[in-house]
Assembly symmetry: C2
Homo-oligomer: 347 residues x 2
């Protein structure tokens, strides 16, 4: 038996109005307008009729039509280049958590080609996680012509949009210096592919700090791996199986540090006693695991990012003060690499 609205055609506000025997204005007021929610304007019986009709037809307001009138889409776009990176997942998670209560839907654009898309698909705000040098002009143009942007980039200038920075160098040096308090035989665990990424910076911090401390470089203490967790596990196993194995490992990402902890435990080493391990990034996984992971990273990064983005999305069209937001990095001393006094030095 065919019920009402079984046509496969999307119901409009007019169909609802007709079925309920009222005007479209009334429907609009009842379903989303300022009147009708118990407040003054629409009587309860009428509101019920309208709601029933909408329900029967399966009516949903058309976002596109609403957007054209109100200028708001209740949508933010996250343009993420490396969807496989846990970092991207953290961004998504934080934004989803913050957006839900506001009735805003985060949509992910998993493509480096955001330039073509962002001009036409209008969102209330857009987060961009990387800008190639040849995209900088397009970025400025977009911002100039009404797109609200929040950009994560270490180099680009803020011109009509917000820029978020999280400069790794000093923080990474803090991590290595922390190990220096109790260790001399310090290894580095880092992906081999990282000259292009910030991993370059992260490795350089290791080399710098050690050379300034007068510790000679040891090539066999640099554990390169292919970027996977399994690769990091294997590389850490190799490091820790050496006759004069390192007493501390500086891993340039938290997930590598996690793999290193697994490897050490598998080899029967007590992490935080026989060997200290520190990561980079301050991800939630490290905080939750046991032993908890010592690490360096920005504080509250993802939540702050999400809040800024949503403030821009809900705020008035002209952002009050777009500018550069620099994230300071902190050292988080936890179990995997505790504080060491002179008495507990391992050399």
């Amino acid at each position: 038996m065919a019920k009402a609205g079984s046509t496969g055609v999307r119901p409009t506000i007019r169909m609802v109005a007709e079925l309920a025997g009222v005007s479209t204005a009334t429907v609009s007021y009842v379903l989303s307008g300022r009147r009708g929610d118990g407040g003054p304007g629409v009587s309860d019986p009428t509101a019920e009729k309208v709601k029933a009709a909408a329900e029967r037809l399966g009516y949903r307001p058309n976002q596109a039509a609403r957007a054209i009138r109100t200028g708001r889409t209740n949508t933010v776009i996250l343009s993420l280049t490396m969807l496989s990176d846990p970092w991207s997942l953290s961004v998504i998670e934080a934004v989803q958590k913050a957006a839900g209560p506001l009735g805003i839907t985060p949509m992910i654009l998993g493509d480096a080609d955001w330039v073509k898309v962002l001009g036409t698909h209008n969102a209330d705000a857009v987060f961009v996680d990387a800008v190639r040098p040849d995209q900088r002009d397009d970025l400025r143009k977009l911002a100039k012509h009404g797109t609200t942007l929040v950009v994560f980039d270490e180099e680009v200038q803020a011109e009509g949009f917000d820029v978020i920075r999280s400069i790794a160098g000093p923080g990474c040096r803090m991590a290595v210096e922390h190990l220096l308090h109790g260790h001399r035989r310090i290894a580095c665990l880092t992906p081999a592919t990282s000259e292009a990424t910030s991993g370059g910076t992260r490795y350089r911090a290791y080399a710098d700090v050690l050379s300034r401390a007068g510790i000679p470089e040891r090539e066999d203490y640099v554990g390169l791996f292919d970027g996977t967790s399994a690769g990091a596990y294997a590389a850490a196993t190799r490091l820790l199986s050496m006759p004069d194995r390192p007493t501390a490992i500086y891993a340039t990402t938290d997930y590598a540090a996690v793999s290193a902890i697994n490897a050490a435990q598998r080899l029967g080493l007590a992490v935080g006693a026989d060997v200290d391990i520190i990561g980079v990034g301050n991800t939630v996984e490290g905080e939750r695991m046991s032993p908890s992971l010592s690490t360096v990273g920005p504080v509250d990064f993802f939540d702050k990012l999400a809040r800024l983005l949503l403030r821009r999305a809900t705020g008035h069209p002209a952002p009050e003060s777009p500018g550069v937001l620099d994230f300071p990095w902190h050292l988080f001393v936890r179990e995997s690499a505790p504080h060491r006094s002179a008495a507990t030095k391992l050399y």
Copy 2:
């Protein structure tokens, strides 16, 4: 010096028309309509003027307005529950590759709450990767009221939308049976969390086939891990370090199999000779690695999925023949677990 269009306001087709000294209709035709590309209707000089004006103002057509008129958004939505799963990334990759040439933008919805979103945000087609039992009704409603859906689910019925299935059981049995040709000491490597996922099916295939072959269960041959690559690596290392180590490993996912291969090689075992390893899923990584990974899985799954979705997106509103698309699984015999004749049996 302020250039034209530096207001921060989004330029409209009317502004372009005014600047170019033509009507909005002409602008529309030149920029996206059927006329204007050297074709009949708009003279070249006029078209040039229009393009110049649009460029100067930084004009981009407003998708929302266009959608309201044409009923098409040139967008497909991918609703993906487990964004961290490589499976999701493969879906994204395949759809992006297929959508690009068509001028269609895939947007990802990384939230299980697709129900609320899909009714209002209209895309030309929507892919949904999992349906909770309590969402089935909503699914039917959406399809009934004009949303074009492609659903991946083993249970849900096709009612006004396409359903894609990829039933794992028989394929997994093929994998274990393949190992049975040369082996008796067969281990299973599987995530510990998988009773809820299809991993349950995948483990059951192992238990079934072995018991039917009259091989007694050995608990120490079941390598459970935490779902991570590093965990799989560690579990495989344990299995292969046993005195009477297994001569073959059936891993319930390809990425676990990859980790097992790494672990075997690290232990000095020749994969495909000393030990055979087979995976489940037929991912591209397994095909590309060395030794190449023997596996079972659907053929051409992601590309076919992408093609179906985009056919629905570009097709006429009423899908010609929505139905169930069952993916047959195949056995891919490659280097990590080759064919074994009687002469090369390992028992």
